[in-house]
């Protein structure tokens, strides 16, 4: 009897927590505004159109889903999911139970929605030009997107200045593109963000994706420590 009651209470608590998260996510979506959806939809549509008209010579999937879409995810995380640059940050930092939870929820909402658009773009592109399975596209997209977005989230909590987080990510993104020639050094291929775009000369792209994801998780450890200091 006691066990049953305890089980029901745990279920209720879980439901309540899930309900709270859903309500807060809905609030975050409202804060993002309509422009977020319009720009994301326009970008996805442009990529699908590009998939239709781009010739076979172009390595479409790495360009679109390893280089461009992850950067868009980072811009979205930094601009629509801004934290310290938010005008209400001081109030939230002073009054919320956990600043980290707030940052994580905002990030998860924005990153999740952008990733949904990315998955839709992948499915639509694959329908037009089947070259790679969807699962492989997901593995290609997620690690760089997660790393760049996490970097944006970390920069967002470190810098008060607006657009600074997007600028940091933009610079990292461009420097990564410019340093492709460094792949001649052994070992660099393991940490290069856009390994499939660079041609994956050593056939180690799965290892690379794992390391990039781990680096993204490490950024979240730093972010957690920073949030605790506020």
């Amino acid at each position: 009897m006691m066990k049953r009651m305890a089980g029901r209470t745990a279920e209720r608590t879980a439901e309540q927590t899930a309900g709270k998260i859903a309500v807060r996510m809905a609030g975050e979506i409202k804060i993002c505004g309509i422009n977020f959806f319009l720009v994301s939809a326009a970008f996805t549509a442009a990529l699908i159109l590009f998939a239709a008209i781009a010739g076979e010579l172009l390595d479409f999937y790495p360009v679109s889903f390893e280089v461009l879409f992850p950067f868009y995810a980072a811009i979205a995380a930094g601009e629509w999911g801004k934290t310290r640059a938010d005008s209400n940050f001081d109030i939230i930092a002073a009054q919320s139970k956990s600043l980290f939870q707030w940052v994580l929820l905002r990030f998860a909402t924005v990153f999740g929605i952008v990733s949904l658009f990315a998955v839709f773009g992948m499915a639509a592109s694959s329908a037009m030009r089947y070259e790679l399975p969807l699962a492989e596209l997901l593995v290609m997209y997620f690690p760089p997107a997660f790393f760049l977005s996490s970097l944006c989230a970390l920069s967002g909590i470190l810098c008060r200045q607006e657009h600074a987080a997007a600028a940091v990510c933009g610079l990292v993104w461009l420097i990564t593109l410019l340093t492709r020639s460094l792949l001649r050094h052994p070992g660099f291929a393991f940490i290069y963000l856009f390994i499939r775009f660079a041609g994956d000369p050593n056939q180690i792209w799965l290892w690379n994706k794992g390391i990039v994801t781990a680096a993204g998780l490490f950024l979240w450890v730093l972010l957690y420590r920073k949030c605790r200091r506020f």
Binding site: N35, L38, V39, A42, F43, V67, L68, F71, Y72, I75, A76, E79, W80, Q161, E162, H163, A164, A166, A167, G170, L171, W173, L174, I175, L177, L178, R180
Partner: protein
Amino acid sequence: MRKIFAIVHYEYKMQFMCLAAWGILLAATVLSQLDNFPSAGNLARLEFLKEPAYYVYRIMSLDSLILLFGLLFLLAGRLPLDAKTGMKPLLLSSALRKGQYVWGKLLGGFLYVFSMLCIFLLLNTGIYFIAAPFAISLSACVVPLVKAVFVSVIPVSLFVSFCSIALPGMMDIRLFYLLAAVFFGFNASYVGSADAMPFYLLTSGDLVRLIWVHPRWPFVSMGSVAANGLFLVGSGLASAGLLFLKHRFWRAE
């Protein structure tokens, strides 16, 4: 005219004091030195690094892209920021005209990008001149530097400053970032060739071939050079023109 100068002065001062821009300049300089410092390794890797003209050409065509991308992010917020901080209603309530405000902002941004790019080139060439393990005359460094300023720095600064200030005044700033990223990403991944380069390149178009020409590819197409210059100046001016055409941007006059 006095009001335009006042805005230009304010814009220039505010941007020049921005610490983030100096951080970007420093990062771009460190990266360009890692790539081009006249060390034994780099001299063995880069065939023409002993030529000061090649060094300036390389800094301008490759490494300045990082600085310009960073400055673009910082400049993009200049017009939206006035609306956000409540400065715009204050300006609208004064006797300031739309043309004075827009030209002040654009020229301030242009002078700022131009100055930062000149400092970047001077700093890098200075390091090269001091650290090179072979004798170089001062004029061998100054001549390509002056060429780079007139041939490339002016049109590139105009393009970057005018586009990054004017376009976010008309569209969502994130969409502008995305478009800029696609453009810069394409520039960064485009590989040079013996043929005429596409006219729509920012720093690696045919304009920079006027600074230094590859000995094995001596062909410089003046038509392509002119097209590159026209694209940069024309796009910058067209962005500014669009801002003038947008009636809702300022009060009816």
